[in-house]
Symmetry: C2
Subunit: 214 residues, 2 copies
Amino acid sequence: MNDIKPAKSPLLPEPTLRRLPWYLAIVSTMRKAGIEFVSSTRIAEESNVDASQIAKDLSFLSIKGKTRIGYEVASLEKELREFLGFMESHRAIMVGSGSLGAALIHDSGLQRYGLDIVAGIDVDPSLVDSEIAGIHIYHPDDMERVITENTVTIGIIAVPANSAQDMADRLVEAGIKALWNFTPRRLRAPKDVVITNTSIYSHLAVMYNRLHQQ
Amino acid sequence: MNDIKPAKSPLLPEPTLRRLPWYLAIVSTMRKAGIEFVSSTRIAEESNVDASQIAKDLSFLSIKGKTRIGYEVASLEKELREFLGFMESHRAIMVGSGSLGAALIHDSGLQRYGLDIVAGIDVDPSLVDSEIAGIHIYHPDDMERVITENTVTIGIIAVPANSAQDMADRLVEAGIKALWNFTPRRLRAPKDVVITNTSIYSHLAVMYNRLHQQ
């Protein structure tokens, strides 16, 4: 049982992959508003991305726009959702279920975008064997077993920065294929392990600096 | 009463601003481990960033490393924290206090990094006038008043994508100086308003695509 389809998608440039969810949000809003067709010019206005860039980004999909009519909104939405992997179920474990980890477990948006958090891990005795939003929290001693039993492929790291690399090493050892790192520590892992960094606090640093210019 | 210091920091390149919090996490771990001095070579090993790049990034700070000894760990940590604005208090309002918004309100890490969420906003009648982690949730009708009364400078947007631009417009109108956008919608705002995008779901799209290559 593996939820990851083998080599379905082409290797896309990261900027394209980051923009496609913007287009998805736009066409999703349009579909709900009853709009049937959309041109790349219209998506350009809504997204502040060049129309030619949008056409290029969408060319990775199998859907084609019609001259003068554009893309069929509902089909484009469905195809984007499938293409981005949001329709599949990717099993993940939340390593560190304190403040930020618990927050992410609570975010039902992740589920809608194809991320299925099957368990949480924490050292805090008051959390171990409790449930957060219906997700069971285990002690780190049980981590490898939980990963194997649930064929988990993604490890989300939300532990204190000084434990991040240790947990990453254990996750990789246990067979995890991707690490989603929410700590400000850069992680080392073998080349075949995907590392995605979401440095919320780094974004704060950028925002503060820009604010201080005003 | 304004928590934002005027033009204190120089305008830094965004990549530098994103890396500085990594170094902070590293030296913070070292200080807790009782390490007194650190070289840029040592930070390089921990961060996977070039030692020369690290020296360049740290040259924006007033602290100087000593030949053969390196930087004093505790001073470097303190200076990074101050330089990045993490020691100040930046008042923010959470617009959209549902799943992701509530999650972010719960994350005490934001407070430690200088973000003071003073109120939440939501349309949901079951949330209005409730409290999430001690933060009062108001109806959108009260948003402008809450911003003015609390001299809020940062608007965090965690509403459904189709309301994001409307809320952004109202925030800007109410005098907000920075928008932290967690929705997949790109926002338009006047040039003097800082926009920071944290597209958690875009990161998922990148991760899934890379996973499918394996």
